[in-house]
């Protein structure tokens, strides 16, 4: 009996996992804005980001998922926690939470809701905004495909955008150094 012939497990990209991850993300997101303790908010945000990485995996984009874990959960959130830990938690616990941007919030939520409706509705002629797509290559090729899109001489269409984005980040880093240091 060849082990490869043993019935393989069903794929992970099932509706069950999608709803599980989506629930985790939404609960995490709500906790981020309702917790008074900033460290608890940060930990809820980490949970949300990890669930998001799992969602990328479900979309057969392992490279994006890996980068999400390294950059957001492992890098940015550590810096967040670093700053938050220096805040006096006792004071923030006593302060009343406020939200002065509810008008903008409602507008943004309405726009997002409208977008969702637009995505999910099918016109009478059967056309949708996002037609159902199917992956044309194996999941394992994801990293190589992304590299091809970015750097390949023949297929690399996003090289310029990529370089511009990295230049922007460099400018931001230099700006941070200039603003933080009086004398360089």
């Amino acid at each position: 009996m060849n082990p490869a012939a043993i019935p393989t497990n069903p794929p992970v990209a099932t509706p069950f996992f999608f709803y599980l991850l989506a629930t985790v993300m939404i609960i995490g997101g709500i906790l981020v804005i309702t917790r008074k303790n900033a460290v608890h908010s940060a930990m809820a945000l980490i949970t949300t980001l990890l669930a998001q990485a799992a969602l990328y995996l479900m979309l057969y984009a392992p490279f994006v998922a890996g980068v999400q874990i390294i950059l957001y959960a492992g890098g940015i959130m550590v810096l967040f926690l670093f700053v938050i830990m220096l805040i006096s938690i006792e004071r923030t616990e006593k302060e009343r939470q406020f939200n002065k941007q509810w008008l903008v919030g409602i507008a943004a939520a309405a726009a997002l809701g409208g977008l969702f409706i637009a995505v999910y509705t099918t016109t009478t002629s059967g056309r949708t905004l996002f037609p159902e797509g199917k992956l044309s290559y194996a999941e394992g090729e994801n990293t190589q495909r992304i590299a091809g899109l970015l750097f390949d001489r023949a297929t690399g269409t996003y090289m310029f955008a990529f370089e511009i984005a990295s230049l922007l980040l460099l400018v931001a880093i230099i700006g941070a150094v200039v603003m933080a240091k009086k004398r360089i």
């Binding site: 490869a4 043993i6 930990m43 980490i46 926690l81």
Partner: protein, 431 residues
């Protein structure tokens, strides 16, 4: 019964990892094996570290519990489990409770992709090395939250130091890793790979360990990683987050009993994890030493006998110590125990001589031997180097390792693409 044997045999002859075959049962078996193996390795490291450090400092180290203190780690573990578990009154209970588990989860999850052999990995991911770096970088979250949740000064300072240190050294570490990934792309298809098994296979195909590739570029990358990995695991001389002489015990000062032992477990398995990254990326993973200079079937046979001989040598050491045990009746149990331990090692050694076992297990042996060399280095560092000051630590990370890593990356890319670059230059100059 016959079916079961046949099933197991069919797997043992397969040339896939359980993850690639989508085989749930074997994946579970592998996960359990890796977990048990890691726990034994951590126990062994505990004993070895105390013994080796002691001998470096001209002491004897643990000698009381069992012959040569062999049972000391078990006694320690029992003590830790029976100890009162204290949570400080002012601590943030939930975060305090969760933090050790984050660290342990991060430290153990990375072993999903560690390739002990071409088929001996739980699974092989397309993003293997990225996954390992990402998940092991999550452990700092556990350390930071542990320090904060203790609501005490020393742990907070330890946590702050730890987060700053880990974020700084991750950058240099990443640059060194990227230079290796560039090297994997030097084949006809010129596509590199992030998969851990793929990286070792690239070294096999190029007939060169990446530490010797483009000498000295590979060596420099290896050096950057070897320094950064000590800093990543908070070990001496970079153990500022838990500097005993300054911060009592740093981020885990307020932890005791079982929770403290989780931190201990996580620290050692993280050390094993980063060492296995270094072994996979630069030292040829499961490949045996001298594949080029000493090749041919004779040498293959000789090298495949080494695992068994190593165990027989250890068994011989144990029997020699049995003979040297004091002949007093009080030592009778210990003497019998040591002889039994020696016999166990000898049986393992003999099993490793069976041809079928020998061929399947030698990969695991070479991988583990290379990782063990790193583990010894960790203890050696701790025994010899004085601790860095924090500003020195930052200076090394940002002003030495980072620029070197950037230069290394550019140079590796230039050297790797030298053929095409020269062709381009010639094409421009011809008219």
């Amino acid at each position: 019964m016959h079916d079961v044997v046949q099933y197991i045999q069919s797997y043992l002859e397969s040339n896939q990892t359980p993850g690639a075959a989508g085989n749930f049962f074997w994946a579970t078996v592998y996960i359990l094996l890796v977990f048990v193996g890691l726990s034994i390795a951590v126990i062994a490291m505990n004993w070895l570290e105390r013994k080796i450090l002691a001998h470096m400092q001209v002491r004897l180290g643990p000698m009381r519990v069992g012959p040569h203190g062999l049972l000391q780690p078990i006694a320690d573990a029992l003590k830790l489990l029976l100890k009162e578990d204290i949570i400080p009154a002012e601590a943030d209970k939930v975060v305090f409770w969760v933090a050790p588990f984050i660290v342990v989860l991060a430290a153990f999850t990375v072993f999903v992709v560690v390739p002990f052999g071409p088929t001996h990995a739980i699974t092989d991911m397309n993003i293997g090395i990225l996954f390992m770096l990402g998940v092991s970088s999550l452990s700092v979250l556990g350390i930071v939250t542990a320090g904060w949740a203790s609501n005490s000064h020393y742990p907070l300072i330890g946590a702050l130091r730890s987060s700053a240190q880990m974020v700084s050294y991750e950058v240099a570490m990443g640059l060194a890793v990227v230079s290796v990934i560039l090297m994997t792309s030097l084949n006809e298809a010129s596509t590199g790979t992030l998969s851990m098994i793929g990286i070792v296979q690239a070294q096999q195909a190029q007939q060169q360990w990446f530490v010797f590739k483009f000498f000295p570029l590979g060596l420099i990358g290896f050096f950057i990683f070897a320094v950064a990995m000590v800093a990543e695991t908070n070990r001496a001389p970079f153990d500022l987050p838990e500097a005993e002489s300054e911060l009592t015990a740093g981020f885990h000062t307020e932890y005791s009993g079982f929770r403290w032992s989780l931190f201990f477990l996580a620290e050692y398995s993280a050390m094993i994890a980063v060492s296995s990254i270094a072994v996979t990326l630069w030292l040829g993973g499961w490949l045996r030493p001298f594949p080029n200079a000493l090749q041919g079937p004779t040498w293959d046979l000789v090298f495949s006998l080494i695992p068994g001989l190593t165990f027989l040598f250890l068994a011989g050491m144990a029997f020699y110590s049995t003979l040297r045990m004091p002949k007093h009746p009080l030592f009778r149990v210990q003497t019998i125990g040591l002889a039994g331990f020696g016999a166990l090692l000898g049986v393992i050694g003999l099993i490793l001589f069976i041809p079928g076992v020998r061929l399947r297990v030698q990969d695991i042996f070479w991988f583990s031997a290379k990782v063990a060399a790193f583990m010894y280095l960790y203890i050696w560092y701790r025994g010899t180097f004085p601790r860095y000051r924090f500003d020195q630590l930052m200076k090394v990370g940002w002003k030495v390792l980072l620029p070197t890593g950037l230069a290394l990356l550019i140079l590796t890319a230039l050297v790797a693409m030298r053929g095409e670059l020269l062709a381009d230059v010639r094409g421009v100059w011809r008219p």
